[in-house]
Amino acid sequence: MRVAVLSLSSCLGCQYVLLSMEEYFYTFIGENAIPYAPFLLDQKELPEVDLLLLEGTVRHGDDFRRLREARQKADKLVALGTCACFGGVPGLADLLTEERMMRMRYGEGAVIEGAPQGVKRLLPVDAYVSVDAFLPGCPPPEDLLQGFLKLALSGTLPSRLGATVCSECGVTSPPRTREGLRRLLSSVPEAGKCLLEQGFICMGPLTRDGCNALCPSSYGVPCGGCRGPCDEALLPPFQDLKGETLRRMERATGERKEVLEREIKDTAHSFFRYCLAEPLLRRRRPGGTATLLRRLGGEGRR
């Protein structure tokens, strides 16, 4: 098969997973023609390919043009990584104005000559073109990517019936301590026990499985949601990452929702770190996207 890898605005982390697959990577490049992969080859033009792994999402006009071209040249287009699937971390840019971001990063009055115009709203790539398969993860776990590629290269684009990170999580639930909202900065969780029940914000119940619950099970760190929302979170009646998490936290901490909401300093990063750009999660909020962003502390863009 002719396989290419293309990045739009991204951190290149997803491509790096390809390289870190080591042995399988050699099999992969041995058995397939890779005519375009900027991190490997000095090839400027994207040729026609059978399978295109697309990383990152559309941040400005140039990305959009490259995405449209990529769609035309690829027989099958795969959204690789949470940026491409749900907007990922770049989606958080919707909370700030373009000027504010420039000021924060490069100082007062900074301009980049000839920089392409930024998009008004960040969206995942399937909002622009049709996508044949999604492999979320920030970055996707190696074994998952390997499994996906093996199936995809044998001809069928795979999908799997998703559960949640909790279903892979090896913890047990502690008796409720009801100590209120807790943070990793100021308190140490008890190992092997559910972090949500201990009062930490854990996105496991609403996050797609596939990572073997790496963070909560192996490192004792709450799941941040990097695999993106699970099926149930994308479909009615839920579609409410914040509300569902707060509901569970009310039970766990014994605090009222209003009290928890006041204590949570950064709602956007806490609940929507990897999927703020996903339109399915915005649509049902009263007042639509603009109101949602404002309520999350955003300034609104342009």
Binding site: C85, A133, F134, C166, S167, E197, G204, P205, L235, R283
Partner: protein, 96 residues
């Protein structure tokens, strides 16, 4: 008439997945404070289906379980979930 085993449960709890959060027991309208609760807390620290005949098949526990550990068999499988957004359905079908 065909004999029906009334004690056979149409509710399955996957103990591999369950994280023992007890949420199902709190969500189920036929468990909390009920005389014949659907769920009871088992000795192994997992929910046990004690009175399946009390179940009204509202699917609250199935949908609410954080670990997707519960399956409630209903006759009409088509009504499991309220209709989703077509884009959401399509996206869910294509995710790995």
């Amino acid at each position: 008439m065909e004999d029906k085993d009334l004690t056979a449960s149409h509710i399955r709890v996957d103990e591999e997945r369950c994280v023992a959060c007890r949420e199902c027991m709190e969500i189920c309208p036929q468990t909390r404070g009920a005389q014949y609760p659907v769920y009871e807390w088992g000795e192994e620290g997992m929910p046990q289906v004690a009175n399946p005949e009390s179940c009204i098949r509202c699917l609250s526990c199935e949908l609410g379980c954080r670990a997707r550990a519960i399956t409630v068999e209903v006759e009409d499988d088509g009504s499991r979930r309220p209709d989703g957004d077509p884009r959401a359905e399509m996206k869910c079908r294509a995710i790995f």
